[in-house]
């Protein structure tokens, strides 16, 4: 697994603080709200210039919703989203959002439904230019569209064709060209390769990497594929049930996971090399319902190392060691140093990560 080196320290281009989305559950027409699906429940992170932050987690953990909340495609319940020195974008009306949409764009998961089947590719890519009045009509816009197509490795001639004439990988390139049209600083990539064949995945990932080098883009890369995340991301955040449970540099996090959930998640990655195979950690039970998350740490009913404080309070996302890794787990809280369960201590002495 090759890991990209993290970029130099600079003020973040995107700062998300305590972002929440609680979907109300209503029954009938006039009845009251019965409860909330806490799809995203207080997510905070920062994204530096030229950095790729991976957001991983299993289905339904809220990673996709997080991406959409940032762009206000889903209305956030509360929280704070700032692009550089912008005002809080989670709270301003859509009309004032418009200038910021030039700076943050999105690539979608499904290359088939993310392109309008009745629009020629040129119009699809040129649309953002029209909305933001970046290239005047006619010649100038066509030229820019051709440029963009070539930038993502397609023929300029593709502009006249319709989406159904392209393969999945080509369509995803069109989606990338559309996102690049306004020259954004940040791209939120929502599982951009999970719908593609493995051979095509590599091409698209290489394209994303090249574009990052050329244009200094920052990516929020949402995926459940740890292999892709490990290859592409400078930092990784792991989500479980609407919260980030662990965030840290890609290398550190993937080679030495701290949170029991991250460990379990990593142990599920299939490997070909026999000596690298990890001991599979089988979690008990199912993901709890986000309507009624467990008390205390959301993960405690399934955690192999749970102990006294786990069902009492939710652990803070606290920095570890040099502060680059942060973990939300009582096992790493110095306060409980003396009460650690035996199972955890023994796994610490013989690293659980690489089991020969």
């Amino acid at each position: 697994m090759t890991l990209a080196t993290p970029p130099s320290q600079a003020p973040p281009v995107l700062r998300v603080t305590d972002l929440k989305k609680h979907f109300p559950i209503k029954k009938g027409l006039f009845s009251r709200i019965h409860g909330h699906v806490k799809a995203v429940d207080g997510v905070s992170f920062e994204l530096g210039r030229g950095e790729t932050l991976g957001l991983v987690g299993e289905s339904g953990c809220g990673k996709t919703t997080t991406g959409r909340l940032i762009l206000k495609l889903v209305e956030p319940s509360s929280g704070d989203v700032r692009l550089g020195d912008s005002p809080n974008l989670a709270q301003i009306p859509n009309r004032q959002w418009l200038p910021y949409r030039r700076r943050i764009q999105m690539i979608f998961q499904d290359p088939f439904s993310s392109l309008n089947p009745r629009m020629p590719v040129g119009s699809i890519i040129g649309e953002a230019l029209a909305i933001h009045k970046l290239a005047a009509r006619g010649e100038q816009r066509i030229k820019r569209v051709h440029e963009l197509l070539e930038q993502v490795g397609l023929n300029a001639e593709a502009a006249k064709r319709f989406p159904h004439e392209f393969s999945g990988g080509q369509r995803q390139r069109i989606g990338i060209a559309r996102a690049l049209a306004v020259q954004p600083e940040i791209i939120i990539a929502d599982e951009p390769v999970s719908a593609l064949d493995v051979s095509i995945q590599a091409q698209v990932i290489n394209l994303l990497e090249d574009l990052q080098k050329q244009m200094g883009l920052s990516y929020l890369f949402i995926s459940h594929d740890l292999g892709v995340i490990g290859h592409l991301c400078h930092r990784v955040a792991v989500m479980y049930l609407g919260k980030i449970v662990e965030i840290g540099p890609g290398t550190a996090l993937l080679q030495q996971p701290r949170h029991p959930y991250t460990k379990a998640l990593l142990s599920a990655v299939p490997t070909i090399e026999k000596e690298k195979r990890r001991k599979r950690i089988i979690l008990q039970g199912d993901v709890p319902s986000p309507v009624n998350p467990p008390t205390g740490c959301h993960f405690h009913p399934r955690c192999p190392h749970r102990f006294a404080p786990c069902d009492k309070s939710y652990p803070n996302l606290a920095p570890l060691g040099d502060g680059s890794v942060r973990v939300a787990c009582h096992l790493y809280d110095p306060q409980y140093k003396d009460q650690l369960p035996e199972s955890f201590r023994s796994s610490q002495s013989s690293p659980a990560v690489l089991t020969a």
Binding site: M106, R118, I131, H164
Partner: protein
């Protein structure tokens, strides 16, 4: 934008419609009939198309000329010139008159030629005979076609525009607007059409546009059901999310993204809606609550034919019957052709 090209799905559908020969030919035939009926004034009229008289040109279709213009005897003063007479008298004088193929207009009572009272059976003078007021049946059928077609097309067009607008707004904005408007439509759709038309017909004497308006009240909502669900489905697709993330306005999303994807199948409903409109107008005319009296209409002809004094006078009943049947069959064939062209399974057929 110069990337414009008719999108491939639509082009494929048009090609497939043309391959369904019957529907395509029916469309051509009906279009010809409709276009011909638009030029009814040149086909069935007592006014000449062109007159050359004493070195002057006259086009009476467009302008009233008193009989004195052509030095005709006129017992009443300034009544209109009789062009049929003029045509006869012009022979061999160097003047000439170009008469329409049918030399009667649909309002004209042709009493003087016959000794017995109308209706008269078909003869050389009146190809399909005359009705009980001595009016030429063919002329009335032709003008009746024009009125029914225009009425029905306007009804469908306006109804579709209103229905698409309301249905799209419901589907797109959803929430409270959808909830309330959907309830209003549900209540509104329980109003019985015939009672309301009869009631209003007894209060006012309905004109063409008033009747159009009344029927529109019962026409517009049927399309909202379709548009509403279609927009609900389309707007959840990722390309709409993509447009929103770019900052596209509601207007742009609705008109550039959603409608082009949702509106085309409406074409499949249209022919059947047109048939329904023609049928409805004919039925209302038959009942006497349609367009006011002298207006040439098919329903009124059928009403005449069914009067007891007109029993056995088949030209009165058969001619509107054939006209209605032909129109309805043609429109249905077109509708069937369009439906098949839109069918995603290319070889399925109704047998």
């Amino acid at each position: 934008m110069s990337f414009f090209r008719l999108d491939p799905i639509t082009r494929k559908r048009i090609r497939r419609f043309r391959q369904q020969r019957i529907g395509f030919y029916a469309l051509i035939l009906l279009s010809l009939m409709t276009i011909a009926s638009l030029f009814s004034n040149f086909i069935a009229n007592n006014r000449a198309i062109a007159v050359r008289y004493e070195g002057e040109w006259y086009f009476p279709t467009f302008k009233f000329h008193p009989s004195s213009t052509f030095k005709q005897e006129d017992p009443y003063g300034d009544s209109e010139a009789d062009y049929r007479l003029l045509a006869k008298s012009a022979e061999g004088t160097g003047n000439w008159v170009l008469m329409p193929p049918i030399q009667f207009n649909p309002y004209e009572n042709d009493f003087d030629f016959y000794d017995d009272p109308p209706p008269h059976p078909p003869d050389k003078r009146h190809l399909l005979g005359t009705d009980d007021k001595g009016r030429d049946v063919f002329a009335r059928l032709l003008y009746g076609l024009r009125i029914s077609m225009l009425f029905s097309l306007m009804l469908v067009l306006l109804g579709t525009i209103i229905g698409v607008a309301v249905g799209s707004a419901q589907g797109y904005f959803a929430g409270w607007f959808d909830l309330l408007s959907q309830r209003v439509i549900e209540i509104w759709s329980t109003l019985p059409l015939l009672y309301v038309v009869v009631l209003l017909g007894t209060m006012f004497r309905p004109t063409f546009f008033m009747l159009l308006f009344i029927l529109l009240l019962f026409q517009w909502y049927s399309i909202t059901y379709y548009m509403r669900t279609e927009l609900y489905r389309e707007k959840s697709r990722e390309y709409v999310q993509a447009a929103r993330s770019m900052g596209a306005s509601h207007f742009r999303i609705i008109f550039r993204h959603l409608l082009p994807n949702a509106i085309v199948p409406i074409v499949t409903f249209t022919p059947f809606a047109v048939v329904g409109g023609i049928f409805l107008l004919t039925a209302l005319d038959y009942l006497g609550y349609g367009l006011p009296a002298p207006t040439p209409s098919w329903g009124q002809l059928i009403d005449q034919a069914l009067e007891s004094s007109n029993r056995g006078k088949l030209w009165l009943s058969l001619s509107p019957f054939c006209a209605i049947t032909t129109t309805l069959v043609l429109v249905t064939l077109i509708g069937e052709g369009i439906r098949e062209a839109f069918d995603p399974k290319p070889w399925s057929q109704y047998r």
